[in-house]
């Protein structure tokens, strides 16, 4: 099975790996639907930080924003999937955007270049902070440089497939820990329902403004560029025709259900454990307190290893996925270049230069004195909102075309 994800946080799988006997991940890919695979790319530091900050600072009063964002995510991914399954020319959504107007090519190129830099900025910073804490060296900037160096060495190599599997196991352990804590904390169901239908923005009582947190949640969930990943997983699964519409919708509903459970669990931990103890999430260590208080040293290790797994895998994913998206967008602007390299990004020298840009330049955000990991994560996810209208308008045009 060939990995054809363009924007995915998944990594390049070399053909020689494909021919080997199926490992756990390959078996997982063949037996589960594209929705659950998309969930693995959707969930990241953005969800972890925005949900926990919202819960710890504002209880359940911003819960309606999460509900709205998940409804929007379902709608957007469903429209993209339907476009992929039902357009008569077999175009991908990006090719479709390019057909509307060249502006979309220029926009996607610039937007993805900036967002690739900014996403990696908070992830490299976070991974450095976590690594520094795990080894107790108190050198987060140096640790961030180590992370960049490691990613640089591992990208595109077969060994990374094994490392990525370990990272996903760590992510699964972290998810189970959050679910366990959320159930143990006996969440206030009445307050959750009240917050879900509350439709109000509370006054700023937390460290981060309520509106900023709200916009950040929408950006991390509904505005996330990783929503474009789902069609590539669908293609790998063999869902390519309008007859797959029903199964695709049900699979997506299941995936959104998984998202609800995981985001809710993180939120509950923030609202029921951190808030009553007066802990505001200003650093990663504050977030670790929730697991440490309930599960002791074991919880501490699960948290830091899990968060490192999420961040490291995301840095690799973004550093391979974003250059593909950026070069793809450039091909919409410059069609001759696409023909020159036969549409194969990896052969284009531009791909490598963009990858270096996306991976190396974000290190400036790790220099001591720059905004902290939590503030950076919230800020960058909020910036997602700027690109959302353009993407949504393009989607409206594409999905309403008669032919």
């Amino acid at each position: 099975m060939k990995n054809q994800s363009n924007l995915a946080e998944s990594t390049v799988i070399a053909p020689e790996v494909v021919s080997k006997k199926p490992n756990f991940i390959t078996k997982f890919k063949t037996s589960y639907g594209p929705g659950i695979l998309a969930v693995l790319t959707w969930l990241g530091a953005g969800d972890l930080v925005t949900s926990s900050v919202a819960g710890a600072d504002y209880g359940y009063s911003l819960m309606w924003i999460l509900a709205l964002s998940l409804i929007l995510r379902f709608l957007i991914v469903n429209v993209i999937a339907r476009f992929q399954l039902c357009n008569t020319e077999g175009l991908t959504i990006l090719e479709g955007y390019g057909r509307i107007h060249p502006f979309f090519g220029y926009f996607m190129f610039g937007y993805a270049l900036i967002m690739g830099h900014l996403f990696n900025a908070y992830m490299i910073k976070g991974a450095g902070e976590v690594l520094s804490t795990l080894f107790q060296v108190n050198q987060p900037f140096l640790a961030s440089m180590v992370v960049v160096g490691l990613v640089f060495m591992l990208i595109g190599r077969n060994i990374y497939n094994r490392i990525e599997s370990v990272m996903k196991v760590l992510l699964a352990l972290l998810t189970i820990a959050f679910l366990f804590l959320a159930i143990q904390a006996t969440p206030d169901v009445g307050q959750i329902i009240k917050g879900t239908v509350g439709f109000s923005i509370p006054s700023d009582t937390g460290v981060h403004g309520a509106l900023l947190v709200a916009i950040s949640i929408i950006g991390a969930v509904a505005g996330s560029i990783s929503n474009f990943v789902h069609p590539y997983f669908m293609k790998e699964k063999g869902w390519t025709k309008p007859s797959h519409l029903k199964i695709q919708r049900n699979d997506l509903l299941f995936a959104i259900g998984v998202c609800i459970v995981i985001n809710l669990a993180i939120w509950v931990v923030g609202a029921e454990i951190l808030k009553p103890n007066g802990i505001h999430v200003e650093t990663i260590d504050d977030l670790a307190m929730a697991l440490q208080m309930s599960l002791g040293q074991f919880g501490w290790y699960i948290f830091y290893l899990g968060v490192f797994g999420v961040l490291f895998a995301s840095v690799v994913g973004k550093s391979t996925g974003f250059p593909r998206l950026i070069v793809d967008a450039f091909y919409v602007i410059n069609k001759d270049r696409r023909e020159k390299y036969n549409g194969k990004y990896e052969k284009d020298p531009m791909y490598k230069w963009v990858m270096i840009f996306v991976l190396v330049t974000p290190i400036i955000w790790s220099i001591p004195g720059m905004p902290g990991f939590i503030a950076l994560t919230i800020g960058v996810n909020a910036i997602n909102i700027i690109g959302f209208p353009v993407i949504a308008i393009g989607m409206l045009v594409l999905s309403n075309k008669k032919a």
């Binding site: 909102i385 949504a392 594409l398 999905s399 075309k401 008669k402």
Partner: protein, 40 residues
Amino acid sequence: MGKYRNNWFENIILTLASVLAVWSAVQLATTFFKIMVDYR
């Protein structure tokens, strides 16, 4: 897209979400510049 075009509900939600996103972006920018002015 033929018969697989968006239904009215999807169009309304996508349009509203776009308007909301523009409003949010303006609010964010306004707050940001206000903070910068206060900081000076």
